[in-house]
């Protein structure tokens, strides 16, 4: 009897240990989000979503200012970065997973991990040297390229692991039908892994969406919407993380508050992309559940 009780106690102890650890993990997130919301909520208003920032004097003269150009810029730069990164990252991931004996793979794996660990600011520097300098101007494209380099290793790794979950026997079944290997990968394996692939893309996306460093000397920042839409790609563009930084270091009280509001928007942006990721995988799970 005593031993049984002892086991129950041990089980409770272990469970409380797990619960405490979980709380420790989510505590920083809770503190951070509540702090950001408390500080920024007062600056959230319609102008924030409809007006450009303009010069600092605007706020002092009581004219409406906002961050609409920043939000638009963030969407353009981040989505373009994802479009740059997906084909390359997917290709690398497919090579790593589907051709495990390929001569390049050991090197590729090390390089991919190194790239992942490299400071984001260096990735910005790379884009600066390769794109900004030859073009002679800061640009949305160079910002996207820098962010794409941030996303690449994450997408490559997540693609590799998403594909390697699919049983090898499915590939053999495809080959036994007389299908070429690339066809089996594209038509049977990649679709089967799509939940994992999409989750990986969105994790990479959210990770890059929060990066300010690579954008400081690539997309640079802009207080206004570009005059022509091409300016989003070929001219300096504002993005949330970098705007957050410049608002925070500015000497204006009003801009500080706006910085907190920008933090809420960025936070919401990342949360929304995670929710989309979750829905994408959740839908699929439900389908599988129904089918059984």
């Amino acid at each position: 009897m005593k031993t049984l009780r002892y086991r129950y106690i041990l089980d409770r102890l272990f469970l409380s240990f797990l619960v405490i650890n979980t709380i420790i993990v989510i505590l920083p997130l809770l503190i951070m989000s509540s702090y950001v919301i408390v500080n920024g909520i007062s600056a959230l208003n319609l102008d924030l979503f409809t007006q450009e920032l303009g010069s600092p004097t605007r706020a002092m003269q009581g004219q409406p200012t906002g961050l609409v150009h920043t939000m638009a810029g963030t969407l353009v730069v981040d989505i373009m970065a994802l479009l740059f990164a997906i084909p390359v990252g997917l290709g690398t991931g497919i090579l790593l997973s589907e051709y495990p004996d390929h001569i390049l793979n050991p090197v590729l794996r090390i390089m991919n991990d190194t790239l992942n660990g490299m400071p984001a600011v260096l990735k910005g520097l790379l884009a600066f040297v390769l794109i900004v300098k030859p073009m002679g101007t800061f640009s949305g494209i160079s910002g996207s390229a820098a962010l794409a380099i941030v996303m690449l290793p994450i997408i490559a790794r997540s693609t590799e692991s998403a594909l390697s979950i699919i049983p090898w026997s499915i590939r053999e079944a495809g080959l036994a039908l007389g299908l070429p290997r690339w066809r089996v990968v594209l038509s049977a394996i990649v679709p089967a892994a799509r939940t994992g692939l999409i989750t990986g893309f969105l994790i990479a996306f959210s990770r890059a969406a929060g990066e300010a460093a690579p954008l400081l000397f690539t997309s640079f920042g802009n207080n206004y919407l570009p005059k022509h839409w091409t300016g989003m790609f070929f001219g300096p563009v504002d993005t949330l993380p970098q705007r957050l930084y410049s608002l925070a270091i500015s000497p204006y009280e009003h801009w500080h508050r706006m910085g907190w509001a920008a933090a809420i928007v960025l936070f919401g942006f990342v949360v929304i992309s995670f929710v989309i990721a979750h829905l994408a995988s959740g839908n699929n799970l439900q389908k599988k559940g129904n089918s059984r």
Binding site: P167, A173, A176, S187
Partner: protein, 281 residues
Amino acid sequence: MNCTESIKANVTSIKNNSFTIIDKDGPPLPHLRMKTENLTVKYGSTTGVRDVSITFQEKQVTALIGPSGCGKTTFLRALNRMHDLTRGTEISGKVLLDGKNIYDHKVDPVTIRRRVGMVFQKPTPFPTMSIFDNVVAGLKLVGIRNRSFLLEVCEKALIQSALFNEVKDRLKDPGASLSGGQQQRLCIARALAVNPEVLLMDEPTSSLDPQSTNRIEELIQELKNDVTIVIVTHNMQQAARVSDQTAFFYVGNLIETGKTRDIFTNPKNKQTEEYITGRFG
């Protein structure tokens, strides 16, 4: 359309394409479809199959029997170059399909696998495809888009594999929604849909209920007029029921081969006799 028709024509011409050995003095001998000569399969330092020479004749079913781990599956997989993907597998000897060595450097394994289909021990439906897409995957993914042709092939293959009545109203449902036994019959239908000349079956009925097993055995009998079948089985009765030729494997060696009736009634080798009578294995 043109492409579809040429492939259709191809599919039908394949059947008439086998060569015949004509014996001048007697009736025509059965066509020799496939043959191995001193086939050895090694992985690293282990030898999975040692020096196997055997012939597979057209309109005949060959059963490969033997205890677990004796190299039956390894041998079977060598017949359509499934070992190509496994690093460190070394194959020596020849596998002749209609007289041509499939391991010749000039031969593309894809064309071989198109002619030599395979059904695996465990069901392997493509997870994201519907029942219909699964059955016609081998045709659709090489560019055949003619829907009425695909439907026709799908129906025929599903009828052959005894699945049609169970799925005819839900061809659009995912292949993975079927039960294990149904999935296996789906995979058999998928293998039949590409109209192979040789069909390799690796314990195809091990996950099926007796009724489906029965149907698959009937199917094997129906198919053998068109397709040369090699089947690995652990079930002695099954080997006796479905096959014309039986080959007994033991630790990588082909111990004995001959007409099924002879192997089961009057085995020449003592090991074969002991295995068949259940004294080991």
